[in-house]
Amino acid sequence: MSQPAEIVAEQLTKAYGRFLAVDNISFAVPKGMVVGFLGPNGAGKTTTIRMLTCFMPPTSGTASVAGFDVFHDSLSVRKNLGYLPENAPLYLEMRVVEYLQFRGRLRGMDRQSIKKRIDEVTELCWLSDRKRWPISKLSKGYRQRLGIADALLHNPPVLVLDEPTVGLDPSQIRETRKLIANLAGLHTVLLSTHILSEVELVCQKVIIIGRGKILAQGSPEELKQQCAQRGPGSRLILEIRGPADQIRSALAALPGVDQARVVSDNAVCTVELVGKIDGAMREQIAALVQQRGWALREMRSAGASLEEFFVQITDPGAAAAA
């Protein structure tokens, strides 16, 4: 990581009384990257974000955004930050343009640049046709987009988005993700979510947090590799036409296969293999099936998904039971 970090957290801790909401976490978000901040509900994502956005001071530890300390230089941090809080709270009685004008003036922008940027961000967030609408009449999806437009208004180097796709319908979710993915390079984005596929789709780096601690961080690919190493091994699903019990025993006898299980058996049987299965193994299996005179219909790797990894590390109990 040669890129300078835009968001740095060092031993950040937040305690509510005795309860440690965020427990001594450290991470860095490199410039121009979209980083996913992933964790189950109540893991401490929002608390961490609130400390980074200067909404609340940390109990201990330090953090800096765009090179400024969140505690000592909070105004500079807030100038360089666009923040979409959870649920995008807005002034419902205002119109879209009025709201953005208000937000622009709060950030000390001049009239011309406010006007110019409103045109740009409403275009970017697909809001152009709703500019004159009262916010109370907007659907949840449009409100969320207005929240993102607001965060982008002053063209900040750093964006922090807290669960930007919650409450949206599938097509809106897809559009919002596309929008966020497009921001990479121009902005440094910290994206909090509890949806895994979102992270896989838009993020170049993932930080997984659970019970106030960082459990893992790295690119989605790195995490998948870690999962394969830690987990029971990779899985292979086969669909073969032939006698089920013979198929099962033949496959179970192969070296490297720890477990073979018939998932379904109606004329065509589906077998799940678990073990150290690599490319050479697959060729061997294909040859075996042909040699026995069965017919191979499908072979696919159901290998380590990020989801399994997520469940495994955020909830060790559930992973052991599975």
């Binding site: 923040y83 809080p85 649920n87 205002m94 208000f102 937000r103 000390g108």
Partner: protein, 248 residues
């Protein structure tokens, strides 16, 4: 400064968008009209609007809490406080924006009573300098009332609780203290020194004696200092509450 004005402008607009603003205006006009017709607009009387201003606070103590209750409470409840406090504005700017916004609306409310001055001027020649000092008095008194409302609004996310607390405080300042001091003076004959002191303190804290001077055309620094220090105290307390909320 421009951020403070942007906040204030939004606050005034917010009151005009909501029904609360209009209800407040209507109730105020109704009761000022009542004061006007009962105390001022009498056949053969001198064209003196003084009593209308002297007792104006009796209406405002019940009206101002409804103007100010949502100032911070609603921001807390809706979560918009997060977008405000993560914007590059200081707590002082936020406080001043809210205060000026509420004061702006307050000015609209008290200015609505100009209609009665107009009516009076059709029938007689009121002393316009006295009218001017009366409005100065109302403005200063409004600063105290609005800052009290602002303080209670910053304390809770429940608007009704904020309105009730500021109403109780304003009733104490507007009615209770004066009534008690009157009672002490009349019934006890003021024989004990500490009772006399208490009576003086309560009388100083009551709104009416301060407002009475303004409505008679007297601009006394003592009255101005009462309203201004009171407003300053509650604005300071509001600032402390805002700061302390961060640390919870």
């Amino acid at each position: 400064m421009s951020t403070t004005l942007a906040l204030a402008k939004r606050e005034i607009a917010g009151l005009f968008y909501s029904p609360i603003g209009y209800i407040v205006l209507a109730i105020y006009l109704l009761f000022v009209g009542l004061l006007f017709s009962l105390l001022v607009m009498q056949p053969g009387a001198v064209a003196d609007p003084g009593p209308m201003f002297q007792w104006n606070h009796l209406i405002l103590i019940f009206v101002v809490p409804f103007m100010t209750m949502s100032l911070f409470s609603e921001e807390y409840r809706s979560g918009r406080i997060e977008t405000l406090r993560t914007s590059p504005i200081t707590d002082f700017q936020l406080l001043m924006g809210k205060f000026l916004g509420a004061m702006g609306f307050y000015c609209v409310v008290i200015a609505s009573s100009l209609i009665f001055i107009l009516i009076l001027s059709l029938f007689g020649r009121p002393d316009y300098m006295t009218v001017l000092t009366s409005y100065l008095g109302l403005l200063l008194m409004g600063m105290l009332m609005v800052s009290i409302g602002l303080f209670f609004s910053a304390c809770t996310q429940h608007q009704i609780l904020a309105a009730m607390s500021s109403c109780v405080t304003l009733v104490a300042l507007g009615i209770l203290f004066q009534a008690i001091s009157y009672f002490l003076g009349a019934a006890l004959g003021v024989s004990w020194a500490w009772l006399r002191t208490l009576r003086h303190v309560l009388r100083y804290l009551a709104i009416e004696p301060h407002m009475a001077n303004f409505s008679r055309g007297i601009v006394d620094s003592q009255n101005m200092i009462f309203f201004l220090t009171g407003a300053g105290l509650f604005l300071f307390l509001t600032y402390v509450v805002l700061e302390s909320r961060k640390w919870r």
